[in-house]
């Protein structure tokens, strides 16, 4: 039995806007993002998609959001431990995957951002990412008739304002919903786990679910999973934002959906294989990195337990999401800058 409800996210849109609908599984919690302030509509989602893929958002027109957040990698940056921005500059952190952002309460590895709309100001201004400014981006969009028409259709105002640009980017990103994995089919009663996967699920619930809470596979809180900082980057995590010693080593717990597409793992991309991640949880947890509960120390998993956990984690891959064409590069972008 299909137990899906169609949530009309556009319910609060002003009457004449098209209504945008997204299917959300019943077992997902309530959305955190307040859609009343930014009702989804097709025009704004498509505008956001264009902006997301448009390299004109960077100072030297070389880099777009998608350069670091590729749809084929579940919007992460594979093969690079640390992200690459304009002029091939290497950043200090691994670009995280983007999906189910409407449920996410904190953004960035250190939780520096609390709101999806405003998060985009960070890469636009970051010298090693897009290296530009909001005024610079808006000036370029304002000078393009095609974009102005799109702003008008999306928001009833042809001016490319900061508010509307950020809301459009957020709208596109909110449509990146991953809920089509084998795990989801299992929850809906449409698939069953193999014995190995089922055992892995049990181990997962015992050891991992406190932080990587299902069905989103994160509680979107800060925690230490016992990683000692990389000696070169020496990233203090949350402490870099608050300056408080008790926040050292705390990072945002990432979701574990789509791991086959999002390697390398952790804030500094130090592990390229899931086996290495499990070795860390099994024997590598460092008491010095003050692991958060329920992690007190190494979990000492057996070889077969690790294999079972990995086989369960692979049921969280959502290939339909990764290859969803409506999230991919929009061909209209070529016309815009003709």
């Amino acid at each position: 039995m299909q137990r899906l409800i169609v949530v009309f996210l556009g319910l609060f849109a002003i009457a004449s806007y098209p209504i945008y609908d997204i299917v959300i599984p019943t077992y997902f919690p309530a959305l955190h993002y307040n859609l009343k302030r930014n009702p989804l509509n097709e025009e704004a989602v498509q505008l956001g998609r264009l902006l997301f893929y448009d390299p004109m958002l960077s100072a030297d027109s070389s880099t777009s959001c998608a350069s670091c957040h590729s749809s084929y990698n579940s919007f992460a940056h594979t093969d690079h431990k640390l992200s690459h921005g304009i002029k091939d500059q290497v950043g200090t952190r691994n670009a995280p995957a983007l999906f189910n952002l409407g449920w996410q309460t904190i953004f960035m590895w250190d939780g520096a951002h609390r709101n999806l709309d405003m998060q985009a100001l960070a890469p636009i201004n970051h010298p090693r990412e897009l290296g530009f400014s909001l005024a610079g981006v808006l000036g370029i969009l304002q000078g393009n008739l095609n974009y102005r028409g799109r702003f008008y259709r999306a928001f009833g105002d042809s001016n490319a304002t900061g508010e509307h640009m950020l809301k459009a980017l957020a709208q596109f990103q909110l449509t990146l919903i991953s809920a089509g994995s084998k795990y989801d089919r299992f929850r809906q009663g449409n698939a069953s786990f193999t014995e190995q996967e089922a055992k892995g699920y049990g181990l997962f619930q015992r050891h991992c679910n406190a932080c990587h809470k299902e069905p989103l596979f994160s509680n979107y809180q800060l925690a230490s999973n016992g990683l000692l900082p990389d000696t070169v980057l020496n990233d203090p995590g949350r402490m870099g934002i608050t300056g408080r010693e008790e926040d050292r080593y705390l990072f945002k717990t990432p979701s574990l959906r789509n791991l086959s597409y999002t390697f390398p793992y952790m804030h500094d991309g130090r592990f390229s294989k899931l086996a290495a991640v499990l070795n860390h949880y099994s024997t590598g947890i460092s008491p010095e990195a003050r692991p958060s509960l329920p992690l007190k120390g190494p979990l000492n998993l057996s070889g077969s337990e690790k294999a079972e956990l990995i086989s369960f984690l692979l049921t969280l891959n959502d290939s339909a999401f990764v290859f969803n064409k409506t999230h991919a590069y929009p061909m209209e972008l070529r016309q815009i800058w003709k």
Binding site: I14, A15, A112, R114, M118, G156, G162, E163, H164, T242
Partner: protein
């Protein structure tokens, strides 16, 4: 037209009394001008202000579910220093209220294009104050205060009692509480920002 009707239905008109506010920066009794040095009573230093921009939130009464109003006041734009509120709000905040901070991109005064939002972390900058201090023997030091932060324990939001509709901040009071020689640059949330926010509040309350 259809859209207008929908808007009217969504936001039924209410009969709010209008309130006029004046937020005109001063140095003691005189109107503050950007770029001029002002002598202080408590020291032989004098102070020059080049940038002064700040937010005020006009909160709605508790029983109302309307959004607060936000005003961005700029020393270089006299027009921004007069404000007519359309709500009955009796409570003013120095800065952008926390609920608004958490609710995403805003328009008008809240549009991040005004440069009053941090980019590397969440949060509006409640107060931007930049200038130079000059000592009696001719030494100079520039200062920059970008004050914000709305999360505990470093919440920099300050409440004002608007028993008067003239809330002209007196910057001479600010420098009686803050020494730019020892604390010249505070540009991120934290304990220092909280102290500066208190000096900022004092500008509105100590004398009128």
């Amino acid at each position: 037209m259809k859209q207008l009707l929908a808007l009217l239905l969504l936001f039924p008109a209410t009969n709010h009394a209008q309130q006029r506010f004046s937020f005109q920066p001063r140095w003691n009794q005189t109107v503050l001008k950007a770029g001029s040095y002002y002598p202080a009573a408590h020291t032989t230093d004098s102070f020059r202000i080049d940038v002064l921009r700040f937010y005020i939130s006009v909160l709605q009464p508790n029983n109302s579910n309307e959004d607060p109003e936000h005003v961005l006041i700029d020393l270089s734009e006299p027009g921004s220093q007069e404000y007519t509120s359309h709500n009955n709000g009796k409570h003013l905040l120095l800065g952008v209220d926390s609920l608004t901070q958490m609710s995403g991109a805003g328009g008008g005064a809240l549009d991040p294009i005004h440069g009053m939002y941090w980019t590397w972390q969440s949060g509006y900058i409640h107060l931007k104050l930049e200038g130079t201090v000059r000592s009696a023997d001719g030494r100079f030091k520039p200062f920059s205060y970008h004050i914000g932060g709305f999360e505990t324990p470093y919440n920099t939001l300050q409440t004002l009692n608007n028993d008067s509709s003239s809330l002209n901040p007196d910057l001479a009071v600010f420098f009686a509480h803050t020494d730019p020689w020892t604390q010249g640059d505070v540009m991120s949330p934290g304990l220092k920002a909280v102290t500066i926010a208190q000096a900022w509040k004092a500008c509105f309350v100590s004398k009128r």
